[in-house]
C-alpha cells in the first residue's frame, strides 16, 4: 500500500507562544487553561461550548463578546471577508441575549455567540448581494431557514461574508467587492518562512487567496471575527476554503439541511456548509441546522437528534478507505506525504485501512461542468430586473431590458456558464450532454455506494492539491480551469450527496495550512464527525498567530478578565 511508504517529512513548526494565544483562550482556541502559554499548540476545544459556559457564568457578556468581534472585524477589514457588517443588528441581538442570560434562560449553546453568514443566504432586512451587481442593494424580505434557526438559538449575526459572484469559483476572487485575502498571509508562521526565502520583496503583494467560493466565511472564522460561519457547498465551496484557511469545513448530507433561502447555484447538489474552528463546534451547529423544513421538499423527514460526538475508543471497528484515484500527478508532494501519514496514523491506532477504487470519480469535474452550467442557465433565468435586483435604463422592449440588465448584472464567468448551459440544454444536445452527464453522475454515485457496501466506514482523501497560492499566481488561469483543478477531490461528494468534512492537519513547509477530507455514508454525518474529531485531536493543528496584525490587540481586550476566560 502506497501510504505505508515511510514519510518522516517535517510537517509543521511548533509555533512559539504569543500574546495572541492568550487571547484565544476566551475563544476556545487553547487546551490547557491552567498553563495557558506553556504550549504553542492547542487542541481546539469546542469554542461554542466554552464561550457559552463563560457566558452562563457571567465571565463575559454577549455584548462584550459582540464588541470584541466587531472590533476584530474592523481591524481585519483589509481581508475583505465581509461584504456587510451588521453591527447594529448584532449589538441589539447581544443586548437581548444578555437579558436572557441574566434571567438564566439562555436558549442554548449558540445563545450570544457571534456568527457570520455567506452573502448568498437571504437575510431579512440585511442586503444580500451574492457579490454580484445583479443583487446589489437587494434586501430580502425573509430569512433563509438556516439563518432563522441560528437566530432562534440566540446567535449574533455579525455580517454577510464575501464570495465569488453567485458562488461560481474556487478562489473568492471573482466577486464585485474584490478578492478575499487569506488571514494566513499575515500569520507569524507564514511570514517567518517567507523571510527566510525572499529578501526585500514587497510583502503585501504576496497575499494568498482563501479558496472558495465561501472564502469570506473561512477567513472570518480563521481571523476570530466570529465563532462559526455558514458557507455553501456545491462542488467543494466550503471544504476548499476551509482547507486553505486552516479551519473545519463541513458539507452535510444532501437533504439534511434546508436550502430554503440559499440563492441556488445547482439545486441538486447545493448544501449549506458550516465553517468553525473545531469539529465539535461544527457538530453543534449542524445539530441546530439539521432537520426537515416544510419550505424545502428536498429535506428528509427522519427525526434528527442533536449531534453530540462521542470519543472514539475502539479503533479496531473502524475501516478507513483510501481511494487510489485521488493519488493524482497534480497532488503536491507535501499533501501526499501528510495524507499517507494520516492513513498510517489510523492504521497504527488499530483501524483497518484499505485501498479502494472509485473508477468514475475522475469524470466528476467534467460531469459537473455540464450539470452545473445547465442548472445555472435555468436558475439564473429569474434575474430579469423586473421584480428585484438590478434593472438597466433601457426601456424600448421587455426583452431588450432583460438582456441589457443581465449584461450589466452578471460578470463574464456567470454569463459564460449561462451560455454553455443553454448550449447543453438545446434540443439537439440534451441527450448527448445533459442526460449523458446525469448517467455519468449515477456511475460516480454508485462507486461510493459500492465502496461503503464493502465495509468501509469513512474515506480519507486530500481536500486540495496544495496549500493556498498567492493571488498573483491564482489569477493567471481562468475561472473554469481553476475550478476544475481545485474541485478535483471535493466535487464527486456532491454528485453523490454524501457528507464530507475538511479538517486542518498541519502546516506546509511554507507555514500554510493543509487540510484532509473525510467522506462518510449518506446521513451518517455523526459517524463522520466522530472520526474527524478523533483525527483533529491526534494532529493538534497549530493556532494561527496573527499578533503582528493585531499589534495593538490589547486595546481590543480592554477588560483583562475577558482574556482569561476558561472553563475551569
Amino acid at each position: 500500500m502506497w501510504w505505508r511508504v515511510g514519510h518522516e517529512d517535517h510537517v509543521g513548526p511548533d509555533p512559539p507562544r504569543s500574546e495572541w494565544n492568550c487571547l484565544l483562550r476566551a475563544q476556545g482556541g487553547r487546551e490547557d487553561s491552567r498553563s495557558p502559554c506553556s504550549r504553542g499548540r492547542g487542541v481546539p476545544r469546542p469554542a461554542c461550548i466554552l464561550v457559552s459556559a463563560a457566558l452562563k457564568q457571567g465571565q463575559v457578556t454577549p455584548t462584550e463578546l459582540c464588541q470584541r468581534c466587531l472590533s476584530l472585524i474592523k481591524k481585519t477589514k483589509f481581508l475583505n471577508a465581509y461584504i456587510t457588517v451588521s453591527e447594529e443588528v448584532a449589538l441589539k441581538q447581544a443586548e437581548e441575549s444578555e437579558k436572557r442570560y441574566k434571567k438564566g434562560h439562555s436558549l442554548g449553546d449558540l445563545d450570544g455567540i457571534p456568527v457570520a453568514v455567506k452573502d448568498n443566504f437571504s437575510t431579512a432586512g440585511i442586503e444580500t448581494t451574492c457579490a454580484s451587481n445583479m443583487l446589489k442593494g437587494y434586501v430580502p424580505p425573509y430569512n433563509a431557514t438556516v439563518v432563522q434557526k441560528l437566530l432562534d438559538q440566540g446567535a449574533l449575526l455579525m455580517g454577510k461574508t464575501n464570495l465569488d459572484e453567485f458562488a461560481m469559483g474556487s478562489g473568492s476572487t471573482d466577486g464585485i467587492f474584490g478578492p478575499v485575502k487569506n488571514p494566513w498571509s499575515y500569520s507569524k508562521q507564514y511570514r517567518e518562512k517567507r523571510k527566510q526565502k525572499s529578501h526585500g520583496k514587497n510583502e503585501d503583494s504576496h497575499w494568498l487567496i482563501t479558496g472558495g467560493s465561501s472564502g469570506g466565511s473561512a477567513a472570518a472564522v480563521s481571523a476570530f471575527t466570529c465563532f462559526a460561519a455558514l458557507g455553501s457547498d456545491t462542488g467543494g465551496s466550503t471544504r476548499n476554503p476551509a482547507a486553505h484557511c486552516g479551519v473545519v469545513g463541513l458539507k452535510p448530507s444532501y437533504g439534511l439541511v434546508s436550502r430554503h433561502g440559499l440563492i441556488p447555484l445547482v439545486n441538486s447538489m447545493d448544501v449549506p456548509g458550516i465553517l468553525t474552528r473545531c469539529v465539535d463546534d461544527a457538530a453543534i451547529v449542524l445539530g441546530i441546522l439539521a432537520g426537515h423544513d416544510p419550505k424545502d421538499s428536498t429535506t428528509i423527514q427522519d427525526p434528527v437528534k442533536p449531534f453530540t460526538l462521542p470519543s472514539l475508543t475502539d479503533m479496531s471497528k473502524l475501516c478507513i478507505g483510501i481511494p487510489k484515484e485521488y493519488l493524482t500527478p497534480e497532488l503536491s508532494s507535501e499533501v501526499q506525504s501528510l495524507w499517507s501519514k494520516a492513513a498510517n496514523l489510523f492504521e497504527s491506532e488499530g483501524a483497518k485501512v484499505i485501498e479502494v477504487s472509485l473508477p468514475h470519480t475522475s469524470y466528476s469535474i467534467v460531469c459537473y461542468h455540464v450539470l452545473c452550467t445547465s442548472e445555472v442557465a435555468s436558475n439564473m433565468a429569474r434575474f430579469d430586473g423586473l421584480e428585484y435586483g438590478h434593472r438597466c435604463d433601457i426601456d424600448v422592449s421587455t426583452e431588450a431590458m432583460y438582456a441589457a440588465t443581465r449584461r450589466e448584472g452578471f460578470n463574464d464567468v456567470v454569463r459564460g456558464r449561462i451560455l454553455s448551459g443553454n448550449f447543453f440544454l438545446l434540443k439537439e444536445n440534451y441527450e448527448n450532454y445533459f442526460v449523458k452527464a446525469q448517467k455519468v453522475r449515477r456511475l460516480i454515485a454508485r462507486d461510493f455506494v459500492n465502496v461503503f457496501n464493502s465495509g468501509v466506514d469513512v474515506l480519507l482523501t486530500p481536500t486540495t492539491l496544495s496549500e493556498a497560492v498567492p493571488h498573483t499566481e491564482f489569477i493567471r488561469e481562468d475561472n473554469r480551469t481553476r475550478s476544475a483543478q481545485d474541485d478535483l477531490f471535493t466535487q464527486a461528494v456532491n454528485m453523490a450527496g454524501l457528507p464530507a468534512v475538511s479538517v486542518p492537519m498541519a502546516l506546509s513547509s511554507q507555514g500554510l495550512p493543509i487540510g484532509l477530507q473525510f467522506i462518510g455514508r449518506a446521513f451518517c454525518d455523526q459517524q463522520l464527525l466522530t472520526v474527524a474529531k478523533w483525527f483533529e485531536k491526534q494532529v493538534q493543528f497549530p493556532v494561527i498567530q496573527l499578533q503582528e496584525l493585531m499589534d495593538d490587540c490589547s486595546s481590543v481586550f480592554e477588560n483583562e478578565k475577558l482574556a482569561s476566560v476558561s472553563l475551569k
Binding site: R4, T373, I394, M401, D412, Q438, D478
Partner: protein, 136 residues
C-alpha cells in the same frame, strides 16, 4: 515495491486524461456558428459580447465532450440523490401572505400593485443594440 508501481501507473494514466486545459479535441470542438450564437443569445437573454466568450464556449463544449469516453449503456440518468425517498409535499394551505408591499419594495418600477415592464411585443434580436463583434 508494487506500491511504487501503482503510483507511477496512475501518474501515467491520469496524465493522459487530465492536464486540463488541453487543446480542443478536433473531434469534439464543433464550429460555433453565427446562427448558434444568435440562437443561444436569444434563449439566454445574455450576449456573448466578445470573441473570447465564443472561444470560451468552444472550449466548454470540447471539455464536455470528454464524457463520451464513459460507457453509460443501460445506465439510468440520476436526477436527485434522494430518488429512493418519497418527495414531501406540504398541504395546499395558505400559511403566509399579505406581503405584497414588502415584495414590491424590491422592484425598481411599480405602479400601485403592479410590476412595470417595457413593451413586450418586440423581440430582442431585432433591436440591434448588441456590441458588434465579428462572428466566426
Amino acid at each position: 515495491m508494487w506500491t511504487r508501481a501503482v503510483w507511477l501507473g496512475l501518474r501515467a494514466s491520469a496524465g493522459g486524461r487530465r492536464g486540463f486545459p488541453s487543446k480542443a479535441d478536433p473531434q469534439g470542438s464543433r464550429r460555433v456558428t453565427a446562427e448558434l450564437i444568435e440562437h443561444l443569445e436569444r434563449l439566454a437573454l445574455v450576449d456573448f459580447g466578445s470573441q473570447e466568450a465564443v472561444a470560451r464556449l468552444e472550449k466548454a463544449i470540447a471539455f464536455a465532450d470528454r464524457l463520451r469516453a464513459v460507457d453509460t449503456d443501460g445506465v439510468e440518468p440520476m436526477e436527485s440523490v434522494l430518488e429512493d425517498r418519497c418527495l414531501y409535499l406540504r398541504s395546499d394551505n395558505v400559511v403566509e401572505g399579505n406581503c405584497a408591499e414588502e415584495l414590491l419594495q424590491n422592484s425598481h418600477r411599480v405602479v400601485e400593485e403592479y410590476f412595470v415592464a417595457p413593451p413586450g411585443n418586440i423581440s430582442w434580436p431585432k433591436l440591434d443594440e448588441k456590441e458588434p463583434f465579428s462572428h466566426c
